[in-house]
Every structure is written in structure tokens, then in C-alpha cells.
Amino acid sequence: MKDKKTHINLAELVRLHTEEMVSWAYYKVSDSELAKDLVQDTFLAASEKAGNFRGDSSPKTWLYSILNFKIIDFYRAKVKKPVNMDGDSFSKFFTSDGEWIKDKRPHAWIEEEIHLLDDEGFNKILKLCLDALPDNWGLAIKLKFLLSKKGDEICEELGITPTNFWQIIHRAKMQLRECIDINWYKGN
């Protein structure tokens, strides 16, 4: 009888997918050593679980599901730290009445959207601005796009309340938008 394990040649998968997986992880965690560690953990876990691989999905999809799990685990440990919700973060943008401070009022970004999303410079700035966010704020944003799950699912996953979640997102977006505005629109 053929052992299930022989369906998966991990060494082959390492050669095929390592580069892409490290890039993927690097994009999510912004640290190349950590990205490598996570990919290594993924392959080690894969070798343990190889017997469970049923071939319902491609080996690549299977590896990425393990990798994503590792990345989320890493973030989950981080998010346990108390979330910084200092009330001051809005005073940069709003008056005490909750109205926009005059020169902070968002103006319309004029670039063609399609063009913008493909622009290497824009994407670089977006990434820099994302990494510049305070830990927990950037985390909330990254998790959203990492998990590509709905809000209430993310809250459940992280054990935070929905109110807490969108308040973090609100602060993070506010900062992210300004960072892009300053570095992209005003810099160009």
C-alpha cells in the first residue's frame, strides 16, 4: 500500500515555493529573519502533518494555509498586549468640537485609481506608512487583509470587541491616510 506521505515531496516543495513564501511572510511581518523562521516552522509543521494531507487542495495551498496560520499566531500573541487608545491621537486632526482642523481636511486624491494601484512608488509609500503605524494599529489593519475575514470574525479571532476593533481601525486609517497624503501627494 502506498503511504500517503509519499504523495508529498517536501524537499521539492521547499525548492519550488520558499522564495515566494518568504516574500509573502515578509510582507506580512516586515522582518526577513522572522519571515524565514515562519517559513521554516511551516515546513516543519508540514512534515509532521504530511500524513493528514488529503490532496483536497494543492500542496501549495496547503502550505500557505499553514503559513498563514503561523503568521496569525505570531500576531495573536502580540495583540494580547493592551491596545493603546490614547485620546490624544485625534487632536491632531479634529478640534475639540470634532470638526476637521482646517489644513487637515481631506482633499480629493486625483490620481486615476487603476493607475495608482499599479504604481510602484505609491505601493512603496503605502507599505512604509503601514509599517510606521504604532504596533497595535498596524496590526488591526494587517490582520484584516491577512485574514480577509469579516469584522466580527476578526474580533472573535482576536478576542476583542467590535467597538474596540473599528476604533483602532479608525485611528490607524486616519494616520495612514495622512502619511500617504504627505509623502505621496504633497511630495509629488
Binding site: A11, R105, L146, K173
Partner: protein
């Protein structure tokens, strides 16, 4: 007067909060109406919403197809990984 307006049609702080909330959660009927009216009266918040959605789209796209990172030497890493997997297999 301002207080009343804010109570009826939200402050910009509250409006931008609802704009973000709306992306992830369903707003109540009252919240939806307040936000719509507020945006009709407020260019800044309308622009904020457009920018915010654009940022989401860009993040989505970046996240789906992350650029390959250059400058990390992975050959040695791959070798050590294959060796480790070999060792695990032998145990």
C-alpha cells in the same frame, strides 16, 4: 446650534468613525441616515471616505500579490531547511 447639528448629523470625528465602521460592520438605520446627510454637507468627510476605500483596495491588492523581496539570499536557507526536514524524517 453646533451641538444640535452634531447630534442630528454627526461631527466629522464621529462621521469618519462611522465610515470606518461601515466597511466592517452593518450600520444601524439611524447611523446610515446620519452619515449620508453628513456627507452631503461635508466635502472633507466625503473625500475621506474615497481615500479610505482606495487605501483598502491598495492594501487588498498588495496583500494578494506581494512583491517578491529581493536581496535575501535564500539558497543557503533552502539547503538548511531541506536538511532539517531530512533529520526530522529519520527520527
Amino acid at each position: 446650534m453646533k451641538k444640535l447639528m452634531h447630534w442630528l448629523f454627526l461631527s466629522c470625528l464621529k462621521a469618519t468613525e462611522l465610515i470606518e465602521k461601515k466597511i466592517y460592520f452593518k450600520l444601524s438605520l439611524r447611523e446610515r441616515m446620519q452619515l449620508e446627510v453628513h456627507k452631503m454637507m461635508c466635502d472633507a468627510c466625503s473625500n475621506y471616505e474615497k481615500d479610505s476605500l482606495l487605501i483598502d483596495k491598495a492594501l487588498q491588492k498588495q496583500s494578494a500579490v506581494p512583491p517578491v523581496i529581493k536581496g535575501i539570499d535564500l539558497k543557503a536557507f533552502e539547503q538548511s531547511l531541506i536538511k532539517k526536514l531530512d533529520d526530522v524524517d529519520k527520527v
